[in-house]
Every structure is written in C-alpha cells, then in structure tokens.
Symmetry: C2
Subunit: 347 residues, 2 copies
C-alpha cells in the first residue's frame, strides 16, 4: 500500500487546493492551459470544438475507421503517489493509451480525460498531471478535447479515452498463423523491475536504474507506423499485462500456439542490474506481469528480415507461432520461476 | 454520507465476487453479455470491431462531425449505493451522457465504459450495471464498444465516454441572442426533490413520488432531434447542474443576459408534493442545483410557436434572453430562497 506522497503531490503552506479554487474556475484554467499549448480546433488536429460545451466535436478524415480505447488508472492499483510524481502519472496514463493505438495501427488524434481527485489536492498537482498528459499526446500529434473532474474521498482516479485514426487495415490480435515469426519491439519486464527498485532502493539509485524506465515509460507508435509501411504484420499487441500473458492473448485470439526462444529475449542492462540486487532471475520480470508497452508482432516469415533490418536493434525475432495452443518456452525451464498456474487467467 | 447498500448491491452467501470470478473471465462474460444483446459490429451501429482487442473500431458516416462526451460518476459524490440499485446507476450514468449529446444535437452511437469496483463486489452487481448502461444506449440506437475494469479499495467509479454523430450543425451554448425566447423542454428540480425523498422518506413512499424520478431519470434526445427538424434553435444546454446555473452558462457563453418568468416554470406534481413534505419552497429545487436532464433552448421568437405546438406540453416558454449579462427572475423575489452568492460559480 502507498506510503507518504512524493513532495510534488504535497500541498505547500498557502498553496491553493482544488476546493479553494472551485470547479468552474479550475475548468476555465484547464481550458486556458490547453489553448496556450495549442490544443485548439485546427484542421490538422481534426478537432472542431474543444472543451467548454456539452461535448467536443471532431471531424475524422473518413478514409479509415477510428480506433477508440480507454484506460482507467486507480491509485493503489496502478500507481502510488509516493513513487510517481503528478507529471509522470499524466505521462504514464497517456503512454498506456497511445500504446493501445500503436498496437492497433492507429494514430492518436484526441483524448477525453476524466479525473476523480481529493478536494484538498493542490491545484498545481492537477495541472502537472495535465501537463504530462498533454506532452505525450502532443508528441504524437494529438490534442486534449475535453474531460471532466470529480472530487473523491478515496483513491485518485485518472481515466483517459483516446480516439485515433487508422492509417489502413487494423493490426488485430487474431491474425497470427502457424509458422509466423514472433517479433518483439522494445523490451519487457522493466516496469516490474523499476517498481521493485523504487520500492526497495533509495530514490536516487532507483532512478539511475530501472526505476527511471518505470517513471518514464515509452510507447512504440513510430515503430508501429513503420511496420505498416514495411508490410507482413499479421497480428500485433502491446505488452501491458506482461510478455507471456499478452503473447497468450494473441495465441488464444488467433487459435495458434507459440514457441519462445528464451535466450533471444532482450534483457535491458537496467533490468539485469535490478535482478542482481533483488536476487532474482531476470526472466521473472521479462516474462511475468509487467506494465510495459513493448509490441509483440506476428510476422510473415518472408517479411521478418526486412523489418529486422529497417527497425534495427529495437526489434528481435524471439520465436514463432505454431499449430496448437498455449505458449511454450524453449532453452530454459521457466516453470520453476512461476507457480505452475501462473499464466492461468483466472485467479 | 452513504448508509448501508441496497439489497441489490449486497453479496448473498455463496454468490461469486469479482475477485473470485477473475478479471479475464469477467471481461469474457461481459463480451458475451453484450453480444447476446446485439452489441456486435453491424453497419447500422457504425461499430466495426467491439471489445476484445487493443481498441474498438468505428466507421463514422463522415457527413457531419462526431460529438465526444464523458461523465465520471463517483460513489459518495454522484450516487449512493443505499439509494440507487446497480441497474439504476447504469441507466443514470448513460442517461447523463446521452443528455449531453442531446444538448449538442448528436445521436449516440457507441460508448466506452470504465469502472473501478471493490474486489468483493458481487459479479451480479457489475452485470446489473452493464444491463442498465446497455438498455439506455440501446434505446437510442447505440452499442457499447468496449471499456476497462479496475479494482479499487475506495468509492466505486463509473466513467462513460459516449461517441455520437451530429445530424447537422451543432447546438452550441454560445448562440443565444438578445430577444431570443427561452424554451424549457422537460422540468427541473426533480432529481434534487427525489434525493430528498429517498433520504427522508420510507423507500416505498419515496418511490411513489419524486424518488422515482431520481432513480429513473429521462433524457430528451427525441425532442432534440425534433428541434433540429423544426428549426430556429440558436443555443441548447442540458440542466445537469440545475436550471439557474445552466442558464447562466448559456448567458456567459453567448454574452447575453436572461429574464426568467418564474411563474411559467413547470413544477411537477411529485416535486410539489415533496416540497410540501419537506416544508420548502418548490422553487429551491426547480431553480437550484439538481442533476436533471431537461433542455434549455434559445429560440428565434419567430420559431417558438411552431416548436411549442409540435412538442406539446413538455415544452414551455419560460423567459427571454436580453442584452446585458446574468440571469434575473421576474414575478418572485427568489433571492430569499438562496444565499445572495448562491449562483456564484466559485465556492
């Protein structure tokens, strides 16, 4: 359970809180803040009307479908205020949504943001969260279109709905076939390793290592767009549940099995270092539950080489899809790392 | 603060809870539940891909913009489990979102639903909420496209994002002009009166009166569509904050003032009855904060008669917009009902 909040969440003496500023004034300031950052209706953003009316208006190009995703982050379940500053929480929530669109092959266009916060939250903390959310969506060319704010007596909640435009056919989970290569873009387990560091090491030491990767995760939107141009991708998913779990989702949706060559899985220096300090096998984090945003692709074997060459070292071939069902790991007996039922989906 | 939950929230002995069923299985059952109700990709629903992948896909007709709205409902702030059953909570949350689209002149198409619930919630209660959400969106021709579920140790949270399609120009808050009529579709204050009944009367007595109007609120989507056909509407808003407050939002956005003829405001029999029991002036509820979903329109005076005739007794002319600013009430001194600063927007 969460400990004391980080200084960026604390209310300094004299600093105005949400209830002191008042909801209407807060919403006005948020609108001004977003306008000041260029989140205004403009042809290129596809936004026709931003915050301030009963709904926002957007005008899609209409050539391809829109992709809709949402991700609710609850204090104590998805984040801790003693580990993540408001701006980093904002970034993390938006990255997780952008990653969902990347896994679909869509480009982020606009977001709606719902928050439930304590009435004695520093107004500044709210704006830092919005800054983090804005920064990330701006970096991928989108804008915040609206949202709503509630008080709560309980854990903080940040829920973002992100609307994107497809650039062609969707990358579904269900397209993997027997013989397809499994490509991994990015690496996994770092969020779990980073959390361990933040929970167990001095802040400075944690942030020098995997902690930083938890605090500032990245998505692979640009690489998803390259994959579309390069061709050959038959299924795509992001690893927000963890490598083994998300790979099994692709297997289930596609009606195939998967063979993973464990030694080919990338293990970052930061994760390796954290595992050594924790006295754990790095694979526990690399394969297990971890809130990273790497991409797992099923790729036509004829296209893998081209992709590996074009994307460089961020992508690896880590196995292949086979007829059958379930995920098996070759080169290491990983069952000893987990309970036998670790990857069962129901507790 | 909330008291004991209503029986429909209580977990009966032996009844499975969310954590017992497990997240993945719950999500699977929700998908089956929605599919069983016809929430499946189909041309008429504009949904191309429903729940189960990284994002949902929708294909707008493209003629007019899309309208996006979201509304977060937090236990203890927006609802109490001792007053509202799960199915009624679901309906209420969806009605509030549909009302936002009605106030914009958009037709509901698809919703994303985020929930944060206790791990020991009855799985049945979750499905009852989804039933309520589904019923309401189905009634207006839309479907649930996806969502996500989190556990929480705090108050329950239900956040719905609703996507609609415009059928023409948007009804904004900013279009009212000097001399326009103020038309009210539906009546206001019943949610506040209903809450008073539920809090102060026996359940049965409350539900025989205004309590029922709180438990089963309605939106005015059909009437909003009629308004578009009839023409003459220059601004529209729904009264989810309360009549006086929402009317002042239109005034502010449009740069005009408003004169309300207090005696023309509709007062429902149920509200009148509740006011008598509470020993209050009905106007406190009719004008004050109340979470109803009536519509307030600014209408070109030349078009009012046609609208009043076409929509019948659900619509009334209750005043007019004037040059200047602020809302004034004619025929009654209502200042005595409220503190002088009651309608100030900051606390």
């Amino acid at each position: 359970m969460p400990g004391s909040p980080l200084p960026p969440w604390n209310v300094s003496p004299g600093e105005p809180t949400l209830s002191q500023v008042g909801e209407m004034e807060i919403l006005r300031r948020i609108r001004r803040f977003l306008e000041g950052r260029g989140h205004v209706p403009a042809a290129k953003t596809f936004l026709e009307l931003g915050p301030g009316d009963d709904a926002a208006l957007v005008r899609p190009s209409g050539r391809f479908p829109l992709a809709l995703t949402c991700d609710i982050h609850v204090e104590g379940q998805h984040f801790r205020t003693d580990l993540l500053a408001p701006i980093d929480l904002g970034r993390r929530v938006m990255v997780s949504n952008i990653s969902d669109l990347a896994a679909m092959g869509a480009i982020p266009r606009t977001a709606l943001v719902s928050m439930a916060l304590p009435s004695n939250e520093a107004a500044r903390a709210l704006f830092e969260m919005i800054e983090g959310l804005s920064e990330e969506i701006e970096d991928s060319g989108g804008v915040v279109a609206g949202g709503n704010l509630s008080m709560t007596t309980g854990p903080r909640v940040v829920d973002v709905t992100l609307v994107g435009e497809m650039e062609g056919e969707a990358f579904l989970r269900s397209g993997a076939g027997d013989g397809d290569d499994i490509l991994l873009i990015g690496s996994t387990g770092e969020a779990a390793a980073g959390l361990w560091c933040l929970e167990n090491l001095e802040r400075k030491a944690a942030e020098a290592g995997a902690g930083r990767l938890y605090v500032r995760p990245r998505h692979w939107l640009r690489e998803s767009r390259r994959l579309r141009d390069l061709g050959g991708v038959k299924a795509l998913i992001d690893t927000s549940d963890g490598f083994a779990s998300d790979l099994s989702h692709v297997c289930e949706a596609s009606g195939v099995g998967a063979e993973v060559e464990v030694d080919t899985l990338p293990v970052s220096r930061e994760l390796e270092d954290a595992a050594r300090r924790a006295g754990r096998d790095p694979l526990e984090w690399v394969l297990g539950p971890s809130d990273d945003y790497a991409l797992v692709a099923a790729v036509d074997p004829g296209s893998s080489k081209k992709i590996l060459t074009a994307l460089g070292p961020v992508v690896r071939r880590v196995g292949r899809f086979v007829s059958g069902s379930g995920v098996c790991f070759k080169g290491r007996d990983v069952r000893q790392l987990f309970g036998w039922d670790h990857f069962r989906e129901s507790p």
